[in-house]
């Protein structure tokens, strides 16, 4: 942490940054909160560890909307944050030269919604880490878990734990956790009967309260006005009718197709533990297999949905 703070302090002044987006300690155990600091002096607030689950690229867009695109912003970037930054640059959301990407090695982050699920309504007051194990302490309970049980599903099969594009890299690059095969759960799910799959999605999405935390946590959702919020014409109903809700989730996935970097921010943000990632992951797989595109790796490759090949597969057309 000391290395981080010192290096950031130096980068802050070397790069004449006006803002740095990183993480600071949260108010609850195992939680961090995004920290936006405006001077090198504040750098000692910064942390980076397995609690840093939010995708910070989100804040670059917010910041641009708030104050224009003129000043230089630094950003602490895990692999997924960096990929989101790349994709956002490709989408013209800000200039590459106005962003200083500070790569950090990610060894997996805790998904707060998974943590809540494990605790089943209880809350903890402290925790202890011992290698791969973590012990959680509450007022009158104790729970030992494997860290992987709390890590975001995205992390368990993450291929890019380190920033792929960066200006600085602090620390030694991490190896992918490789706990899970990336598409195993999608493939397994796909084996189920269509009726079961539909029932599953209905059950998941029926919990949705349309709080849009998934959308708002997503670095790729930056529309001035989301299609769900449109009136004249009203694209979809605004109540919590299940068909409207499901359409919202389908279209969100369609809109992030070929752009989603699978950071897991959407799933982590959901207060109702909805399996938001399943459908997105399937589409990600399709984009890779069909169009050979993985978003956010470089600044040259044309994003999948912005281009085409004359010989794109079309077996689905009658």
């Amino acid at each position: 942490m000391k290395e981080l703070v010192e290096k950031i302090r130096k980068i802050f002044s070397d790069e004449k940054l006006e803002l740095l987006i990183g993480y600071t300690k949260g108010t609850l155990p195992l939680r961090s909160t995004p920290g936006l600091i405006e001077s090198a002096d504040e750098a000692d607030k910064l942390i980076f560890d397995f609690t840093c689950c939010n995708n910070l690229a989100k804040y670059l867009v917010d910041e641009k909307k708030r104050s224009g695109n003129t000043h230089r912003i630094g950003i602490i970037a895990k692999g997924c944050d960096a990929r989101a930054v790349v994709q956002l640059v490709m989408e013209g959301q800000f200039e590459r030269e106005n962003v200083v990407i500070i790569g950090v090695p990610c060894k997996g982050v805790i998904d707060p919604s998974k943590l809540r699920k494990k605790l089943n309504g209880k809350e903890i007051i402290k925790f202890k880490v011992n290698r791969d194990k973590i012990t959680l302490f509450g007022k009158n309970f104790e729970l030992e878990l494997n860290k992987n049980e709390l890590f975001s599903d995205s992390c368990l099969s993450c291929r890019y734990p380190n920033a792929v594009q960066y200006d600085y890299f602090i620390g030694e690059p991490s190896e992918p956790l490789g706990v899970r095969d990336e598409y195993a759960s999608v493939d397994e799910f796909e084996q189920k009967l269509p009726e079961k799959r539909w029932t599953y999605f209905e059950k998941e999405y029926s919990r949705c309260i349309r709080c849009y935390a998934c959308r708002n946590a997503c670095p790729m959702c930056y529309c001035e006005e989301c299609f769900v919020d449109r009136s004249t014409p009203q694209w979809i109903g605004k109540g919590n009718d299940l068909s409207d809700t499901i359409i919202f989730h389908i279209v969100r996935v369609l809109h992030t197709a070929g752009r989603c970097v699978d950071c897991g921010a959407c799933a982590a943000a959901c207060p109702l533990n909805i399996d938001i990632r399943m459908l997105g992951k399937r589409i990600e797989k399709e984009v890779i297999e069909r169009f050979g595109f993985t978003p956010g790796l470089d600044f040259e490759t044309e994003p999948a949905m912005a281009t085409f090949k004359e010989n794109d597969k079309e077996e689905f057309i009658m």
């Binding site: 903890i124 849009y212 946590a217």
Partner: protein, 343 residues
């Protein structure tokens, strides 16, 4: 009337009986989420679950409510005509939230017919919190784990039994007619008292909030709003999980000349909340929206209703995707004001 007790083993029996006359809403676990649902026969309630994921306000004020249906043949109202309701196992903070909400929905000038239709037919059984969560802060806001405000009947868990204490007249009337309940003993009462003390002392000592309202009066333009709002995602997790937020939108959904008018929850966190037809938005930035939310709860509500518009349930604290903690906000408001010597 005295306090009564029910053997834990008889709870199901009791609820089933209750179900004959009432629509009984109790905490139910469904797909890992605990919320107040109408108990179906044989369905188990998870009474010991510390805090339901969703607040119970949607029983009187559903997220989407059909207000009326219309067609070429006129209007058709959709007033609640169901059974009377029992809300069973509501925690004290949530029970208190109804009192706050009713200052809007019932009193004094305008009565919301949809709320009233259900609320007037409802008995509230609240359940004391023996183990308040670390994120709970009801004791900051004139509440507590054993606070009885808003309850008709107050239940305490004393290991083998539940104590039922009538609070309101309705509660008393109801309890007098239930023969499955027995008289509570001195020992039982003592146990309850111990539980109360234990629970209250397990909570951290609250800061003094006397100056909160007046502090906010002076902080309209503070950079403090920037600091928090920069992190805020602008989602509705806090508002929709809040037992005292009540803002709504009204929409028509129609097709071929027929349609419904629905009322649905809205959130002051959304830019569209205040966007006007002209395209102008008086609260263009997240900072303005966040300020609105805090001001509403800790300043305007106090001004209008004489108390804070927050019950300290802690849901927003634990659910916020970016860990914005309303408690630290409250303390920093007081500190900022004090630092400036305004109060």
């Amino acid at each position: 009337m005295d306090t009564l007790k029910l053997q834990k083993g008889n709870l199901e029996n009791f609820l089933q009986k209750l179900g004959e006359e009432f629509a009984v809403f109790a905490p139910v676990m469904s797909d890992g989420i605990v919320s107040f649902l109408e108990l179906r026969p044989g369905q188990k309630s998870v009474l010991d679950f510390p805090r339901t994921h969703k607040p119970p306000k949607d029983i009187f004020y559903p997220q989407t409510e059909v207000m009326l249906r219309y067609g070429r043949d006129g209007l058709q109202s959709t007033e609640y005509k169901g059974k009377p309701i029992v809300l069973f196992g509501v925690r004290p903070c949530d029970a208190k939230s109804f009192i706050l909400l009713e200052r809007v929905f019932i009193e004094p000038k305008y009565k919301d017919p949809y709320w009233v239709a259900r609320r007037n037919k409802t008995l509230i059984f609240s359940l004391a919190c023996n183990d308040p969560l670390p994120s709970c802060f009801c004791n900051w806001l004139d509440g507590g784990p054993f606070n009885k405000t808003g309850s008709d009947i107050f239940i305490t868990d004393i290991d083998d039994d539940y104590l039922f204490e009538p609070i309101s007249e309705d509660g008393e009337r109801f309890l007098s007619g239930v023969d499955i309940l027995k008289e509570a003993t001195e020992k039982d009462i003592k146990k309850a008292k111990n539980a109360k003390e234990r629970a209250e002392s397990s909570m951290e000592k609250p800061p003094k909030l006397d100056s909160l309202k007046s502090s906010l009066d002076t902080l309209w333009d503070e950079t403090l709003w920037d600091e928090i709002s920069l992190r805020c995602l602008g989602c509705a997790v806090c508002t929709y999980s809040c037992p005292t937020c009540y803002c709504f939108d009204i929409q028509d959904e129609s097709r071929r000349g027929k349609g419904v008018r629905i009322r649905l929850w809205d959130s002051c966190m959304f830019p569209l909340f205040t966007k006007e037809g002209s395209g102008h938005n008086p609260r263009p930035l997240q900072k303005h929206r966040l300020r609105q939310r805090f001001m509403h709860k800790f300043n305007y509500f106090v001004e209008k209703q004489g108390e804070f518009g927050c019950v300290g349930c802690g849901r927003c604290v634990s659910l916020c995707p970016v860990n914005i903690d309303i408690r630290s906000f409250i303390t920093s408001v007081i500190q900022t004001a004090q630092g400036r010597g305004d109060t």
